[in-house]
């Protein structure tokens, strides 16, 4: 089946829905393609808030937010992106409120704000209330509100369509190909502009806060064309996942006064970040927790977790402002934060890297300013690069809103200026070939077993602490898994709702993301932000103050070519010199 729209948006999370809304406001005909149903996207799992310098509780300024974002990113953040972001997010939060988002309120009726890791007043002096929140289900409310606005706007939704290919010819994106889950049919979508906003790929790790569906599909499709993925070595482990499960425990729990404690009951963050303690950025807190565990001060049967302590907080704060996480701890661990210490451990959470874009979401093809006409990306899928080497809490929701909006606006503007470019004669050829190869594969390999081995090995070899020999071994492990993947079997012959086929296809995408991440991480011989090398323990600005661009070597399977891109060290009006990162 064939469809035609001015602008196509892939993904119906915060970035995709915002892009769809703004493309429609820009006068374009818009379709949003999602592999789930809308409102199922993982934006809904975000809990703690969206950072913006509204100053509703305490004095705040966008310049402070810009600085915190850059310092939080260990100076790999592009400062022009950080400046645009810190300014734009203020209006964007008000816009969400005008769309009806039910924020929690201050006594005066303004949007409520609370503290969050790495967000400070006066360039690092003390923690500041910057996170605008709706209890601890801010992401849920953003997702619902933006979907509601798209229903109002009449956006076309193609639910449960898996994108299998992007059509890029002569430097211009012409549309995409997708598999319809309900029928097994291949659909082609012709478009003037496409916005990619399909989220991250946390499922390559064993312990993750990410949904089962976050498998890096569109990153992989981009990468398979020989186009680059930026800064893939920078992957954030959130310090507080429920022990063993990895389910996210919001940083808002520390923003509201929660304290991390080791087996001795010690508030150990005082030793690692004397000024802001438990509210240090995530990379630092995660490393501190793992260090406590390695030195024998972990809790639980395997001594591989630490405690978060809320017992000193009033019951109404825990059950009110932190209702979601209270429910999760009670449901899954049988632990009640009102009176129990809750066992947590770091969990794979967020990709700072992704498809490189400019400030308007336009997808880049190299480190020298080349781009794909008509192709945009936003959200976790993209690397603009706002988050640099480590993202601050709340800046993911802000990223979705600010850069989803910019990408949607730019896509509509581009669509207004151009005619449809021709589709090739048989755009679906490669997608059909890939899917049929999987369907007819008669091999003995089980996709679930390969996936499990990938997840465990990535956790062990490319996790929070990394070193050269482990990662070199992981390169070989991934090559071996890729070989075995060619012999994977799909036993379900049905066309309709063939979830076995989909999971096998997603595993192929995951292997690509893991390949790009491991090669990028092995190549970067320094420690910066979330990328911590035991064998290169210092940050090395002289050699490594630059973005990695990883390209799949199309001539040599399993090989990755590395290029670089300059960091924007100045914003439009402000610039912050790289300094030692101390909290």
């Amino acid at each position: 089946m064939h469809h035609r729209f001015d602008v196509l948006v892939v993904g119906a999370g915060g970035a995709g829905l915002m892009a769809a809304l703004y493309a429609a406001k820009g006068g374009a005909s818009v379709a949003c393609i999602t592999k789930l149903y809308p409102t199922r996207s993982h934006t809904g799992a975000a809990q703690g808030g969206i950072g913006a310098a509204l100053g509703n509780v305490q004095e705040d300024h966008w310049e402070w937010h810009m600085f915190d974002t850059i310092k939080g990113g260990d100076y790999l953040t592009d400062q022009d992106a950080a400046e645009v972001f810190a300014k734009d997010i203020i209006d964007a939060v008000y816009e969400l409120e005008h769309m009806g988002l039910p924020f929690s309120r201050t006594p005066e009726g303004k949007i409520a704000q609370r503290k969050f890791g790495g967000h400070t007043r006066d360039f690092g002096k003390a923690a500041v209330e910057r996170s605008c929140y709706a209890q601890d289900r801010t992401g849920h409310m953003i997702l619902q509100t933006l979907y509601q606005q798209n229903v109002k706007e009449g956006t076309n939704f193609y639910n449960e369509f898996h994108v299998t290919d992007l059509i890029i010819e002569e430097g211009r994106c012409r549309g995409l190909v997708a598999h319809h889950y309900a029928t097994g049919e291949i659909h082609t979508f012709h478009a003037k502009a496409v916005v990619l906003a399909a989220g991250g790929y946390g499922r390559i790790f064993k312990i993750t806060s990410n949904a089962l569906t976050l498998t890096g599909d569109l990153m992989s499709i981009y990468y398979r064309k020989g186009l680059p993925l930026e800064d893939m070595e920078f992957y954030q482990f959130h310090p507080t996942g429920l022990a063993k499960l990895g389910i996210l425990v919001t940083e808002g729990i520390r923003g509201e006064g929660g304290i991390l404690r080791n087996a001795d009951g010690e508030r150990f963050m005082e030793r690692y970040a004397p000024t802001i303690k438990d509210l240090a950025p995530r990379d630092i807190v995660s490393r501190s927790i793992i260090t406590e565990i390695r030195e024998g001060r972990g809790v639980g049967a395997d001594k591989d977790a630490v405690h978060i302590d809320l017992t000193h907080l009033p019951r109404e704060v825990i059950e009110g402002k932190l209702a979601e996480i209270t429910d999760l701890a009670r449901t899954y661990l049988g632990q009640d934060p009102v009176k129990d210490l809750v066992a947590i451990q770091p969990t794979a959470h967020y990709a700072m890297g992704g498809i490189p874009t400019d400030i308007n979401g336009l997808c880049l093809t190299d480190g020298a300013g080349g781009s794909v006409e008509g192709l945009y990306a936003a959200g976790e899928q993209a690397c603009v690069s706002l988050h640099g080497a480590n993202r601050l809490g709340t800046n993911s929701l802000g990223d979705l809103i600010v850069f989803g909006r910019r990408a949607g606006t730019a896509a509509a503007q581009y669509a207004r200026q151009v005619e449809y470019a021709d589709m090739p004669a048989d755009p679906e050829r490669e997608s059909v070939a890939t899917l049929e190869a999987l369907r007819s594969a008669s091999g003995k390999e089980n996709a679930a077993v390969i996936r499990r081995e990938l997840q465990e090995s990535m956790m062990n070899n490319v996790g929070i602490f990394r070193n050269g020999p482990d990662m070199a071994r992981q390169v070989e492990i991934i090559r071996d898994l890729q070989d075995r993947y060619r012999h994977v079997s799909v036993s379900d012959p049905s066309r309709r709702y063939n979830s076995e086929l989909i999971e096998a296809m997603e595993l192929g995408f995951m292997l690509d993301c893991a390949e790009a991440m491991t090669a990028s991480a092995l190549n970067r011989t320094e420690s910066r932000g979330a990328h911590d090398r035991e064998d290169y323990h210092e940050r090395d600005d002289a050699n490594w103050l630059k973005h990695t661009m990883a390209y799949k070597n199309l001539n040599k399977p399993g090989d990755v070519l590395i290029g670089y891109k300059d960091v924007a060290l100045r914003g439009y009006t402000h610039a912050f010199e790289p300094k030692a990162r101390v909290y």
Partner: protein, 250 residues
Amino acid sequence: MAEQHIPLDTHTTPPMRVNVKILRFNPETDKKPHWETYPVEAQASDRVLDVLNYVKWYVEPTLTFRRSCGHGICGSDAMMIAGRNRLACKVLLRDVVKDGGTLTVEPIRGLKVEKDLLVDMDPFFDSYRAIMPYFINESPPPAGERLQSPELAERMAHSSNCILCACCTTSCPIFWVNGAYLGPAAIVQAHRFIFDSRDEATHQRLNIMNQNTGVWRCRTAYNCTEACPRDIPITTIIEEVKRAVMYQQA
């Protein structure tokens, strides 16, 4: 399931043996649904979703169901588990089955079964769309936020918590016999806007609720309240909407 087991507690619990009995149906090959039973070894602290994934990944790859977030926020995996609607990722084995016992898993009722535990969600979302599920206030907004007191914000705290999983609507006996009834989930969504002090379309929405597909169909069976994985007091919310319709104000 020793091979792939991920224990949920920091305390290891002894494994239990469970027969997972699943109502299966593939319209391409089957005339009618049939039960199939899969014996599994699992931890008491495993989620039902972990067990379904185990069966799919290592025993019966054709088993089909929706799932995504795995912790009760996306609303994909609503099923009838041990006779009650729940999210498979938000119920632990120990709460629904004993060691050596049988656990039944069926699709939610009242929506067409497409394959195994996967149903057609379109009618459910059609009912959602029917209540004008979007904020309406056409007056020009202020430069900052519209003010709302914490007390007024609290009025929609429960109804805005809905994740559209359909556990409530598909547990409602009225919905089973009359699919035109908008159902509890759509009424909860309407409540979220009717009781929002900033929204200006109260009367339009109350009129929708007053139609013969609206709130008056509810016979307060309380199934919806018991089914809600978010602990939303749905029956109470429906009663609040009924009162608002009677008095034409929220």
